[in-house]
């Protein structure tokens, strides 16, 4: 008979109570003839507007997303002019240098290559107030990042944020060697190293905030994201660029429903998924489903840097686990040919002058470019 540590058994009892069990699930294949138009993007008041058109796919469909190409896409002002967007490929259409009138209303008009016409509702242009502060705190779980803003005119009330986080990292081993044309040579002086890199990721969750319950239009320390204290993102320097968008009430509701339907779901008290109604309609067939919501606003940005020495000393980041091995010089060409391994250093016998062996490691331990870029971003401090 196993005598359980009592703490463990208490934990076990509690797990029975609190932890329900969640397993990955693949449903019976839901096949529907669906290929609805998806419109993503927004009308940017103070920068380039980029709209992407694509089609929905069956859940089980493993192929690449289908983009809607060769469509004509216009921004139309209510009782005003029309601006055509340029097609960039992959269903992306863009226009820059457009000055949208804050007092007017605009819509997006689409004519597909097949001749079907779609348009969004006319939407008011929202001016986004500046971000007051992007702050951070070393919390108990990790680095927590907050955004604060306010609208002195008390006119915004609904906000959405996106962010891009960038961090500096290194590979496990620094090397002054490279394998070129079948031989191991020294890296040239001034050549960009492959030891130090930067990686950027865009936010993948919907971040929404509202100040409607407050007496003033203030967002104070909205928790935007948190980075676990053991994350490899925090080994050197970490940066986050926050983009803020002002929303209309309707746009906020759309994003909130989308968030509820696709992110905040799965616990006992979560709301049921509900029908998501955007503001884009087919002009020829009103019953046709079109996915997406077009809003017009300006964008406000602010960047934050946090370097490792500002963080608590007891935070242990996760370093890559790598093993260094050796290989005789003669075997090296064949060995490095596949590209799985890369040379790290030279081994000379004591008092010797001839390199007899190379140390080597797996590529992911040497070449940081596998996960990011070794070109230092412009904004990097």
């Amino acid at each position: 008979m196993i005598i359980l540590n009592w703490r463990k058994s208490v934990f076990w009892v509690l797990m029975l109570l609190l932890s329900s069990c969640v397993e990955p699930y693949e449903p019976e294949v839901i096949q529907a003839r669906n290929s609805f138009l998806v419109v993503s993007g927004f009308l940017n008041v103070n920068g380039p507007t980029t709209i992407q058109l694509s089609r929905t796919q069956n859940l089980s469909d493993q192929s690449m997303p289908i983009f809607e190409e060769r469509a004509s896409v216009f921004i139309e002002e209510e009782q005003g002019g029309q601006h055509r967007l340029w097609e960039l490929g992959s269903g992306t259409y863009t226009i820059s240098g457009l000055d949208l009138n804050v007092g007017s209303k605009y819509r997006l008009f689409i004519r597909t290559a097949a001749g079907k016409e779609y348009a969004s509702d006319y939407v008011a242009v929202k001016q986004t107030p500046a971000i007051d502060e992007v702050s951070w705190e070393a919390g108990s779980e990790g680095l927590e990042i907050f955004v604060s803003t306010h609208d002195p005119k008390n006119d915004t009330w609904y906000y959405r944020w996106e962010y891009e986080d960038t961090w500096e990292y290194t590979s496990a081993y620094d090397t002054n060697l490279k394998f070129v044309n079948g031989e191991v040579v020294y890296r040239e002086y001034g050549e960009l190293g492959i030891y130090r890199c930067w990686r950027t990721e865009a936010s993948k969750t919907i971040k929404l905030g509202t100040s409607t319950k407050l007496s003033q239009d203030v967002i104070h320390a909205y928790p935007l994201l948190s980075v676990p204290s053991n994350s490899s993102k925090l080994l050197y320097k970490y940066s986050v660029l926050v983009k803020q968008y002002a929303l209309t009430r309707e746009a906020y509701q759309y994003w909130e429903t989308l968030k509820k339907n696709t992110e905040s779901i799965g616990t006992l008290f979560d709301p049921l998924p509900s029908q998501l109604t955007g503001n884009i309609h087919s002009l020829s067939d009103p019953s046709e489903l079109v996915v997406g919501y077009i809003a017009a606003s300006s964008v406000q940005e602010k960047r934050l840097f946090v370097s490792n020495d500002e963080l608590p000393k007891n935070w242990r980041g996760t370093y890559p686990t790598c093993v260094l091995d050796t290989i005789p010089v003669a075997e090296a060409p064949d060995y490095f040919e596949t590209g799985y391994n890369m040379p790290v250093g030279e081994i000379m016998p004591p008092m010797g002058t001839v390199v007899t062996d190379y140390t080597y490691a797996k590529k992911e331990c040497v070449d940081c470019r596998l996960f990011g870029t070794n070109i230092k971003p412009d904004f990097w401090e």
Partner: protein, 922 residues
């Protein structure tokens, strides 16, 4: 008084051997002059002249002097004169024995008709002296052997007379509910009501009254009924059946009762059904009954015959309970130790009840022990409970008080995981009841209930909710045929959500509901053919639908409060139960309900016919305090009929209409603590439901096996559904976010039940459908193109088996099995990219289903010995919930994580859950 006793003993012996010598002789006559003679001398003279022999206590006659002249007078006349003006009475037996007693005369003859009816038990014992007869005198009958005379003694009585009284537990004095009282030939019977009161109309004459009840020793009383009278009966508890179920009461109610669609559970039944946390849970057991479903484990909300969770009236000692659960629904809010019975009406709801569309769940607590102080309790893995009960004034006033609490909070603190030990979860509940018997005609019941829950799932938001209820009931017996109950009750429910992590957003959201009821119910037993119930009730609602307040000094939260809602709901009802013959009976009922929404209030008026939105507000109407700004009323029909086919089978039919004026708003699948109750007003119409049900009932093997089939068809109008993305909290114009839905439900329920014997339990199968449609112009959106779609709890096939096997008096096991079709869910139809993130598009509402559900539970009850004199009786319950460990999906959902759509299956109990509970009783 040795002299007297000797004579008395002799009398007994004499009567014993000479019962058959009960022959009438010609009266003897007496002559003589008596002046200033002692009674002894008078007796001597009479005994010399005649064969009369006197029996008396000399002490009672020592001061008596006889002054009389008689000529050939019969002894009766002489004695009448002699004893006139004294307390002495005489009786003359058939064998010329004369008994002189003080106060009341000795009964020297058995009642008329005593030997006419064949009563085998009656001849096995020596006929005892007959109990004293007297008009309307109330008796407490505790002996099976004694013959109780009821009413005024008459010669050759004929016709019918009514008999009524209370059934009480001999040990605790507690009223016994639902025990059957009947005579066998002709078969006339009734069951005791919730006060233990019974009333019968029987042919006058001698009867053997049988009394049977759950957990009671089957007993009988010999009665001689002359005219209307009362008989209270004390019955002993069957000690052996401490845990076992013996639903002998209403043994043939399945077939012979007029009620259909009613399920009654005794606490003993409830206690043996295994539950996830070892604590007897009435709501879990109710969920095993046919026609009752829930969306899944971990939600106490129940759906009765396709009705939504807010359509159940949950009464706890006549006070409405708004949130019957603890700890996210894993525990029910009722302490099993104080409970007595749970009764669920799912089709023919009596006219007395109203206000909810689908069902009435009546939970009654026990009365305290009237004889001595006792207690009981239990210790489980997560909760413990203790109950004390006893007399305040012996045999008159008693109390019972019970409490329950959990140590989950302490357990959470012990956890190594940070997110768990920052969480907290606790609850407690307290029940109390005082019963006071003012006199034989008046009884007073006071009852109180308090429950509180508190939980914090991460370090930030604290949820709290609480129920507070009180009720007072006065029962008055006007006479044998009429009694009335006056009930006053108060119910309160509130919740608060506080968040204080971010000082600028620190807030407190509160909701409160108050309800006061006053109700008068009368029952009139007109005669054997008619039983009339009538009464009136009124409910005053006062709801604070929401208030948001800053919760710190720095908080910028703008204080906001929704307007209070006030309303009065009243009803009048009358119903008559007519028994045409033994085969055919009918119950006709009408309830008329009125609802008035009252000011002060500002109400938006919307453009008629247009979708309701803030844009379609045409006017804001303002009403002063006391103004009624919206009123609804309507009849509610209650009809049921029974046709007995044979002695063991019958067909029943019922129709009823119900109206509901209070609605619960919740857009989660399960009942959550932050659900809001909203009253009807000028923008929200009351819900109306109709149900017609037809059933066939048959009992086999001397009523030990019951079989029933019930089919029903039900329609529901104007219940509330929600628009996509509806805001239900702090919404000043909630009518723009809800839509009126209509529903229909139909199904067939089969049930086979065996409640006696070593193996007992029930098995039921239900086929049912529940469909909803949202299609009206006031809704800005139509769901599923205005077509009918399955509701969240539409589970067509459902099979449940609850079985118990008793190996010995001290060891029994139970095994339960449940199967049902998976519940409907809305699944994603398609995926797409929004920028770099994959997202999903949902299908029509509830177009798919989760996989089927099945679960097996097992429990063992081990009892201590049944010695009567023991410090405490105890028992152990070992149970395993979900024995096979099947991961029954509660929901299936898809989430965008790291930009990819992933599917998950959530099961609430994914492993077998063993529990141990120790129960005691002292």
């Amino acid at each position: 008084m040795p002299h007297f006793y000797r004579r008395f003993l002799f009398l007994i012996a004499f009567l014993g051997c000479c019962l058959q010598a009960h022959a009438q002789q010609a009266p003897l006559v007496i002559s003589g002059n008596f002046t200033h003679v002692s009674f002894d001398a008078f007796v001597q003279t009479v005994e010399d002249q005649t064969s009369y022999r006197f029996f008396y206590d000399p002490a009672t006659v020592d001061s008596l002097e006889v002054n009389l002249q008689v000529q050939k007078q019969p002894l009766e006349k002489v004695l009448q004169q002699v004893l006139a003006g004294t307390a002495l009475k005489f009786a003359i037996s058939g064998t010329n024995q004369v008994f002189i007693t003080k106060g009341s005369p000795i009964q020297v003859a058995l009642p008329d008709g005593f030997f006419e009816r064949r009563a085998p038990e009656a001849v096995q014992y020596v006929a005892p002296p007959l109990a004293q007869a007297g008009k309307q005198s109330k008796k407490k009958a505790a002996s099976e052997l004694k013959l109780y005379e009821i009413g005024v003694r008459r010669e050759n009585p004929t016709g019918k007379a009514s008999l009524a009284g209370y059934l009480r537990d001999a040990k605790t004095g507690e009223a016994l509910i639902g025990a059957s009282v009947y005579i066998e030939s002709p078969l006339i019977g009734t069951t005791s009501d919730q006060y233990g009161y019974y009333a019968l109309t029987l042919p006058v004459g001698r009867h053997q009254l049988n009394i049977k009840g759950i957990g009671l020793k089957n007993t009988r009383r010999q009665i001689m009924l002359y005219s209307d009278g009362k008989l209270d009966i004390d019955i002993e508890e069957d000690v052996r059946s401490l845990k076992e179920v013996l639903v002998e009461a209403e043994k043939d109610k399945n077939v012979s009762g007029l009620q259909m669609g009613v399920e009654k559970l005794d606490i003993r039944t409830i206690k043996q059904v295994p539950t996830a946390f070892g604590e007897a849970d009435i709501l879990r057991v109710v969920l095993t009954l046919p026609g009752v479903k829930s969306v899944g484990e971990g939600s106490t909300g129940m759906n009765v015959r396709g009705g939504s969770t807010d359509q159940n009236l949950i009464l706890f000692n006549d006070a409405t309970i708004y949130n019957p659960s603890h700890l996210f629904g894993f525990f029910s809010a009722f302490n099993p130790d104080v409970l007595k019975t749970v009764e669920l009406y799912k089709s023919a709801v009596p006219a007395k009840y109203g206000g909810r569309l689908s069902s009435v769940l009546e939970v009654t607590t026990r009365e305290g022990n009237k004889k001595q102080l006792t207690g009981s309790g239990g210790i489980g893995l997560l909760t413990s409970r203790l109950t004390l009960e006893g007399p305040i004034v012996k045999d008159k006033t008693s109390f019972i008080i019970g409490g329950r609490s959990t140590y989950s909070n302490w357990l959470l603190k012990q956890l190594p995981n940070k997110s768990y030990n920052k969480s907290s979860a606790s609850f407690y509940d307290l029940n109390g009841q005082v019963t006071h018997e003012i006199d034989s005609k008046n009884t007073l019941y006071l009852s109180g209930y308090l429950s509180k829950d508190k939980f914090k799932l991460s370090a930030d938001t604290l949820y709290q909710f609480s129920n507070r209820n009180a009720s007072i009931k006065w029962k008055h017996n006007f006479h044998n045929k009429l009694y009335g109950v006056l009930t006053g009750a108060y119910s309160h429910y509130d919740y608060a959500v506080t968040s204080e992590k971010n000082p600028v957003n620190a807030s407190e959201l509160t909701y409160g509901l108050n309800q006061a009821n006053l109700q008068a119910d009368f029952s009139y037993f007109h005669n054997a053919k008619h039983t009339v119930d009538f009464g009136a009730s009124s409910i005053l609602y006062n709801i604070a639908p929401g208030s948001l307040k800053p919760y710190s000094d720095e908080s910028l939260i703008a204080a906001d409060a929704l307007q209070r809602e006030r309303a009065v709901e009243s009803a009048l009802y009358v119903s008559d139960r007519i028994d045409f013959s033994r085969r055919l009976s009918l119950s006709l009922g009408l309830r008329y309900s009125f609802f008035n929404a009252m000011g002060p209030r500002e109400v938006f008026a919307y453009a008629p016919g247009a979708p309701r939105s803030e844009g379609s507000v045409q006017d804001t109407l303002s009403y002063k305090a006391g103004d009624s700004f919206a009123s609804y009323h309507g009849p509610e029909y209650r009809l049921s009929a029974r046709l007995g086919l044979t002695d063991n089978s019958s067909v029943k039919l019922s129709f009823n209409r119900l109206r509901q004026y209070i609605h619960m708003l919740s857009n989660t699948t399960s009942v959550s603590p932050t659900d809001i109750w909203k009253l009807s007003d000028s923008n929200i119409r009351p819900q109306v439901g109709n149900q017609v049900a037809l059933g066939y009932y048959q009992n086999f093997r001397a009523n030990t096996i019951e079989f029933s089939v019930e089919g029903y068809y039900k329609t529901m109008q104007d219940f509330l559904d929600y628009k996509s993305g509806a805001t239900l909290v702090m919404n000043h114009h909630i009518e723009t976010d809800v839509v009126n839905a209509e529903g229909k439900a139909y199904g067939v329920e089969l049930m086979l039940r065996k409640m006696t014997g070593k193996l007992n339990g029930w098995a039921s199968y239900t086929y049912s459908r529940t469909l909803v449609r949202v299609n009206n112009p006031e809704a800005a959106e139509v769901i599923n193109n205005g077509e009918y779609y399955p509701s969240n709890f539409d589970k067509p096939h459902d099979f449940t088996m609850v079985s118990n096997y008793r190996f010995s008096q001290r060891f029994s096991t139970s095994l339960n099995f449940t199967y049902s079709t998976g519940r409907p869910i809305t699944l994603p139809l398609a995926k797409y990219y929004d920028g770099n993130v994959q997202r999903i598009l949902y299908s029509d509402r509830n177009a798919y289903r989760v996989p089927d559900y099945y679960r097996v539970d097992f429990a063992m009850n081990i009892e201590g010995n049944h010695k009567v004199r023991k410090l405490a009786h105890s028992s152990w319950t070992l149970a395993v919930y979900n024995l096979t460990g099947r991961r029954n999906p509660y929901s299936i959902y898809f989430k965008s994580e790291d930009g990819k759509v992933k599917g998950y299956k959530l099961s609430i109990f994914g492993n077998p859950i063993p529990t141990v509970t120790y129960n005691f009783k002292f």
